[in-house]
């Protein structure tokens, strides 16, 4: 298994998420919380985030239908979602939350609907990209373990080569020296 290639792929996927503005610095804060005691913390937080955000978006869609022009109610849902997006660094989603809230402030139903559609799109894109990223990181073990394994393999190979060389020298022995031509 080419772990170095997988690790490069994971790094590239992550860089893309930051470069394209899907994630911001807060995601790195969440990564900093991950340690040996909680090795899957980031993925667990992301799973909870998508579960919660999916529910909030669904509740908001129902509220848009059930409570027309109730901008205060709509705003309250979106404020909660904005908070979650901020906490994990979901930057583009957060921006759409803010846009929705601005439209609530301007009492624009059309604006709110438009922002919600964009938010749902960003939600789906981020989910797909993060799923791909975590899939690759699952296949590429952490650097410490694969680096350690690589060293072990190298040491074992070196030992085997030394043993083989010594055996060969024993077989050749003094006879090898006698066949050298005289200078």
């Amino acid at each position: 298994m080419d772990y170095s290639n997988l690790r490069r792929q994971a790094a590239s996927l992550k860089k893309g998420l930051f470069d394209q503005g899907h994630l911001d610095e807060q995601f790195r804060q969440v990564e900093d919380l991950q340690d040996e005691a909680s090795p899957n913390f980031v993925e667990e937080v992301v799973v909870v985030f998508f579960k919660d955000s999916g529910r909030l978006i669904s509740n908001l869609e129902q509220a848009l239908e059930k409570y027309p022009r109730d901008f205060n109610r709509w705003d309250a849902y979106m404020q909660q979602l904005k908070g979650s997006c901020s906490s994990i660094g979901a930057s583009r989603m957060k921006n759409e939350c803010m846009s929705f809230r601005d439209n609530c402030g301007q009492r624009s139903v059309e604006g709110c609907m438009g922002s919600l559609q964009k938010l749902k799109r960003e939600h789906a894109i981020l989910r797909q990209k993060l799923e791909s990223y975590f899939q690759v990181t699952l296949e590429a073990p952490p650097c410490q373990s694969w680096c350690h394994d690589r060293w072990i393999i190298s040491i074992n190979l070196l030992t085997d080569v030394c043993m083989f060389t010594m055996q060969l020298l024993r077989q050749v022995g003094p006879a090898g020296a006698a066949t050298r031509p005289a200078m």
């Binding site: 807060q26 804060q29 969440v30 900093d32 919380l33 909680s38 913390f41 667990e44 937080v45 909870v48 985030f49 579960k51 919660d52 309250a76 404020q79 909660q80 904005k82 908070g83 979650s84 901020s86 906490s87 994990i88 660094g89």
Partner: protein, 125 residues
Amino acid sequence: MASSLKALLVEDTAVDRMVLSFMLRKFHCEVILAKNGKEDVDMFLEGNKFDIVVCDKDMPIMTGPEAIKKIRAMGATDVKIVGVSADDNAMEAFMSAGADDFVPKPMRLEVLGPMIQEVINMKNN
């Protein structure tokens, strides 16, 4: 940074609960969770003591500022209370309720760290 602080985290959103509780544990705090302002107040009514309370603003049943007012009215004046919110206008509500600090979400380790250290220093003195 070594700490034996007892922290109460009052937060209704699951994601924020996870992230904030891990941040507090990163600073070696013992973390107790409450999901809304009423649970927050109940913790104090049950006689629990905390060194620091990190409290969200908008929660079901009872908001953060409402809970903070009640906690201060109970005589819990020593405990450091930090309000956190994604609402940029939340500072006024928290500070007038009796919070010591307000931090806009998202909370960051480099912001939380000095707050924890301040509580440790006060406790040691």
